[in-house]
C-alpha cells in the first residue's frame, strides 16, 4: 500500500508538469482554435533562460518572476509577429506555423546551448522529507507547489477578473466579442502570453528532474497533448485533470503492469485515451460541438 501511495505521489508530481503544459495548450486552442505544437519548446527555452539567469547569479526568488514576465512577452510577441499574419488563412496554416515554431525554437536552443544534457540544480534544494512511510524531495514538493499556484492564479485570472471575462468572451465567440468593444487581437496576444508563462513554469520545474537539454519537453509535449485530448480541449480544468491522470496512470502502469516500463510507459496514457474517446469523443470535461456541413 505504501509503495502504491508513493507511486501515486510520484505520478502526481510529473503529472503536474503535464497538467501545466496541457493547460497552456488548452488556453491557446480555446483562443485560436489551433494546437500550438511549439508549447513544449517554449517551455524548454524558458528552462534554459532560467538556467542562464541562475548561473549569472540571480536568486531563484527573482528568476521565477523574471521568467514569467519574459515568457509572457515572448508568447505575446510570437502571436503578434508570427501567428496573427496567418490567423485568417485557416487552421492548417496555423498548424504549419506552430510546427515551424517547434523546429525553429528547438534549433535556436540547440545552437545557443548545445545538445548535451546538462544537470540543472533544483531551485528548491536537495532536501528529502519523510511523512510517515512516504518520501518527498524538496524539488517534488516545491515544484509541485509552484505549478499548482501558477495554475490556480491562471484559473483565478480567467474566472474572476474582467480580463478573464474578455478572454473567455473571445474564446467563446470572437465576432460577438469584437462587437462589444473587445480587441480580439490584444486578447489573443494576452492568451498566448499567459500560455507561454504557464509553460515556462512547467519547463523550470521539469528541468532539474529530467535534465536540461533541447529535448527536455519532447515527451512531455506528447503526454500534454494526450492529457488535453483526455480532458477536453474546450476545458481548462479538463486539461489539468487530464495531465494529472496521465502522470499517475503511466507511473502506476509501469510499476504494476507486467511488461510495461521505460519507454513503453508512454503507450499507457494513449491506450486509456483511446478507450475514453470511444465513449466520450469531446473528452472528459469538454463540450461537444457541431459543425454545419
Amino acid at each position: 500500500m505504501t509503495e502504491f501511495l508513493q507511486q501515486t505521489v510520484s505520478g502526481l508530481t510529473t503529472g503536474l508538469v503535464y497538467a501545466a503544459l496541457a493547460l497552456a495548450i488548452a488556453l491557446i486552442f480555446q483562443g485560436t482554435g489551433t494546437l500550438n505544437f511549439a508549447q513544449g519548446e517554449f517551455a524548454t527555452l524558458a528552462a534554459f533562460v532560467a538556467f542562464a539567469l541562475s548561473t549569472a547569479g540571480l536568486s531563484w526568488w527573482l528568476v521565477v518572476p523574471v521568467l514569467v514576465v519574459v515568457a509572457f512577452v515572448f508568447g505575446a510577441g510570437v502571436e503578434r509577429l508570427l501567428v496573427r499574419p496567418v490567423e485568417n488563412s485557416g487552421p492548417l496554416a496555423l498548424l504549419t506555423v506552430t510546427a515551424a515554431l517547434l523546429l525553429g525554437t528547438n534549433a535556436v536552443t540547440a545552437l545557443i546551448w548545445g545538445t548535451d544534457v546538462r544537470s540543472m540544480p533544483s531551485p528548491f534544494g536537495d532536501s528529502v522529507f519523510h511523512v510517515g512511510a512516504l518520501t518527498f524531495t524538496a524539488q517534488a514538493l516545491g515544484g509541485g507547489a509552484l505549478v499548482l499556484v501558477t495554475m490556480l492564479v491562471c484559473g483565478a485570472v480567467f474566472r474572476f477578473t474582467p480580463l478573464g471575462l474578455r478572454l473567455r468572451a473571445v474564446a467563446d465567440n470572437p465576432d460577438s466579442a469584437r462587437l462589444l468593444g473587445i480587441s480580439t487581437g490584444l486578447m489573443l496576444a494576452v492568451g498566448w502570453g499567459i500560455a507561454a508563462a504557464v509553460g515556462a513554469i512547467a519547463g523550470l520545474v521539469a528541468a532539474p528532474t529530467l535534465g536540461l537539454s533541447p529535448e527536455l519537453m519532447t515527451n512531455a509535449l506528447l503526454l500534454a497533448l494526450a492529457a488535453t485530448t483526455l480532458g477536453g480541449f474546450s476545458s481548462r480544468l479538463g486539461a489539468v485533470v487530464g495531465g494529472l491522470l496521465v502522470g499517475v496512470l503511466s507511473n502506476l502502469a509501469s510499476r504494476y503492469v507486467p511488461g510495461i516500463g521505460g519507454d513503453l510507459q508512454l503507450v499507457v496514457p494513449f491506450a486509456i485515451i483511446f478507450l475514453v474517446l470511444l465513449v466520450r469523443p469531446q473528452g472528459l470535461f469538454g463540450r461537444a460541438s457541431t459543425v454545419r456541413a
Binding site: 485570472v157 477578473t161 474582467p162 480580463l163 478573464g164 471575462l165 474578455r166 473567455r168 468572451a169 467563446d172 465567440n173 465576432d175 460577438s176 466579442a177 469584437r178 462587437l179 462589444l180 468593444g181 473587445i182 480587441s183 480580439t184 490584444l186 494576452v190 463540450r287
Partner: protein
C-alpha cells in the same frame, strides 16, 4: 403627418445618427449592396425593411465593421472609414443578432456586464493587478447589469447560465447587454422574431425608454406592422438597392415599395390599402 413622426427641433441641427454615402458590397460577383445613400435621424427609432435577401443584415454587418465595403458610412457625422468592429463599438455602435449571440458558458449577469467593456477604463494591467479602481468599476458594472436585467423583467435569471434559457429570455439578455454599452446607435436585428406582437412592442418601448434620448435605435424587421407603428424613418431595401426612404406614411404611399414588398398583382385589394390596414392593426 403625425407630430410624433417629425424629428425633434434639436435634431435638425445635429448631424444624422447614421449616414450612408454610396455604400456597396459584392460577394463573389453578387451585388449584395449597391450604392446606398440615406440618412437616419438622431434619436428615436428608425427601421430598415425589405424582402429576404434585400441586404438588411449585410448593411448591419457593414455598419458594425464586420464587412469591408465601398463608399462611406458616417456615425453622427464622423466617417467610420476602416475602423475595426471593437473601435466602432467604443464609438457607440451596438447591435443584436437574429439569433442571440451570447456567451453560453456565462451567466445572464456576466453576459450583460460584458456590454460595459466598450467604455471600461480598466486596462489589462489594472485587471491583472486587481487594483482598487478595477474593483470599484467591477462592482458598479455588476450593479448596473443587474438593474438592466431587472428592468427587462428577468433579474431572477441573473445567475443562470444563458445556455438553457428560452429564446425570448436570451433575446432580452442580448438587448440588455447592448444597452449596457450606452450606445448612441443601437441596431436590433429582427428583435420581434420569436416574440408575440405585444411582447415585441413592449420590448421596443422598453428599449427606447432605457436607452434614453441620446440613443438612436435602428431596427431590421420583417414585421411591417411593428415597424410602421414605432419607426420615425424607414429605409426600404430591395436586392441590395435603396428602394425608398422616408417616414412611415411616405414609404407606405410609395408604389415601388408596395410592388416590391407586397407584390401588386396578386392581391384583391390595392396594396397601399393593405399596408395601411396593417399599420392600423398595429396601432
Amino acid at each position: 403627418m403625425p407630430a410624433a413622426a417629425a424629428p425633434p427641433a434639436s435634431s435638425a441641427e445635429s448631424p444624422p445618427a447614421l449616414g450612408a454615402r454610396g455604400v456597396g458590397l459584392s460577394f463573389a460577383g453578387l451585388r449584395a449592396l449597391d450604392g446606398l445613400q440615406f440618412e437616419v435621424p438622431a434619436g428615436g427609432t428608425s427601421a430598415v425593411i425589405g424582402p429576404n435577401g434585400a441586404g438588411k443584415t449585410t448593411l448591419f454587418n457593414c455598419i458594425s465593421g464586420l464587412y469591408r465595403h465601398e463608399g462611406e458610412l458616417l456615425l453622427h457625422g464622423r466617417p467610420l472609414g476602416r475602423l475595426r468592429p471593437h473601435q466602432r463599438a467604443r464609438l457607440g455602435v451596438a447591435r443584436t443578432f437574429q439569433t442571440p449571440a451570447l456567451l453560453d458558458g456565462e451567466s445572464a449577469l456576466q453576459n450583460v456586464a460584458l456590454g460595459a467593456v466598450a467604455h471600461s477604463r480598466v486596462g489589462v494591467l489594472d485587471s491583472m493587478l486587481m487594483t482598487p479602481r478595477r474593483r470599484r468599476e467591477e462592482q458598479a458594472t455588476l450593479e448596473q447589469a443587474f438593474e438592466l436585467l431587472r428592468r427587462a423583467g428577468i433579474d431572477q435569471l441573473a445567475d443562470r447560465p444563458v445556455a438553457g434559457l428560452p429564446h425570448g429570455d436570451r433575446r432580452r439578455v442580448e438587448v440588455s447587454r447592448a444597452l449596457m454599452s450606452a450606445p448612441t446607435l443601437l441596431m436590433l436585428d429582427e428583435p420581434a422574431a420569436g416574440l408575440g406582437a405585444e411582447e415585441a412592442r413592449d420590448l421596443l418601448r422598453e428599449v427606447e425608454e432605457v436607452a434614453g434620448p441620446g440613443t438612436t435605435v435602428l431596427l431590421v424587421e420583417h414585421d411591417v406592422a411593428l415597424v410602421m407603428s414605432v419607426a420615425r424613418r424607414v429605409v426600404v431595401l430591395d436586392s441590395g438597392r435603396l428602394l425608398a426612404v422616408g417616414t412611415p406614411d411616405e414609404v407606405r404611399a410609395d408604389p415601388r415599395v408596395v410592388e416590391a414588398y407586397l407584390g401588386a398583382e396578386d392581391v384583391d385589394e390595392p396594396a397601399p390599402e393593405r399596408l395601411h390596414a396593417v399599420s392600423e392593426e398595429a396601432s
